[in-house]
Symmetry: C2
Subunit: 109 residues, 2 copies
DNA sequence: TATATTTATCGTAATATTGCGATAGATATG
DNA sequence: CATATCTATCGCAATATTACGATAAATATA
């Protein structure tokens, strides 16, 4: 079918899975890392930096925007992107909570 | 095309994206959380717990196994799954490193 | 106003993912 | 040995993702 059965999972599980999905592509990882490295807004340099077509990058930026991770500000003919600190914190905390839940107890088979 | 251009990204970026992908489905999140909650191996109870068909769960387990996150031990007619502590730690550290890299500097547009 | 620059969107093709029924394979149990 | 139980795999259908050329929309510049 190809359609995830979200209704049988909790909101938290669905949300966490969606967060993972937002970052489950090397281009989106690279975009985020580029924004972090720049320590500021990045206005249109992304197409030169990554080796993907402009349309493709625009699509990935849209997904990151939909995920809330980045925000774009129109600046003349170009658009400046930066990370949304608030959402970033939410992601960080959700991931931390998930990974901290497991403690190795050495009682495994 | 539908084929990710891994060759234009770094190994780390590709690996991190793949890690995210392994957890980018609520069923796989639920399976991992179930293993954590059990604090031990889980042998075949997963099909009853989740509302998915046996074939579907087997497929998700396979993906988690391919990702290295879980390991299965044959126990009679059933298979017991548990989290691989070593790989879990690697995931945790990779995610931590990624999220720690960004510091909000309030110099955004 | 005409042209250049930049980004978003549309349409399309190729591939991947999700889900499940059917079935095969392995190991218990009668 | 026959049967039951449990898991993996195959095959299929529906949907999603990835990538890109073409084009539209918006703004700057000559």
């Amino acid at each position: 079918m190809g359609l995830t059965k979200t209704e049988i999972f909790t909101d938290k599980q669905n949300k966490l899975a969606q967060m993972m999905k937002a970052l489950a592509h090397p281009a989106r990882i690279a975009i985020i890392q580029s924004l972090i490295k720049a320590q500021a807004c990045v206005c249109g340099d992304l197409v030169d930096e990554l080796g993907l077509a402009q349309a493709t990058i625009s699509q990935h930026l849209k997904e990151l925007k939909n995920a809330g991770l980045i925000q774009g500000t129109i600046e003349g003919t170009s658009v400046c992107y930066c990370i949304d600190p608030k959402v970033w914190k939410q992601y960080k905390e959700a991931f931390d909570t998930f990974f901290v839940a497991y403690k190795n107890k050495d009682n495994c088979c």
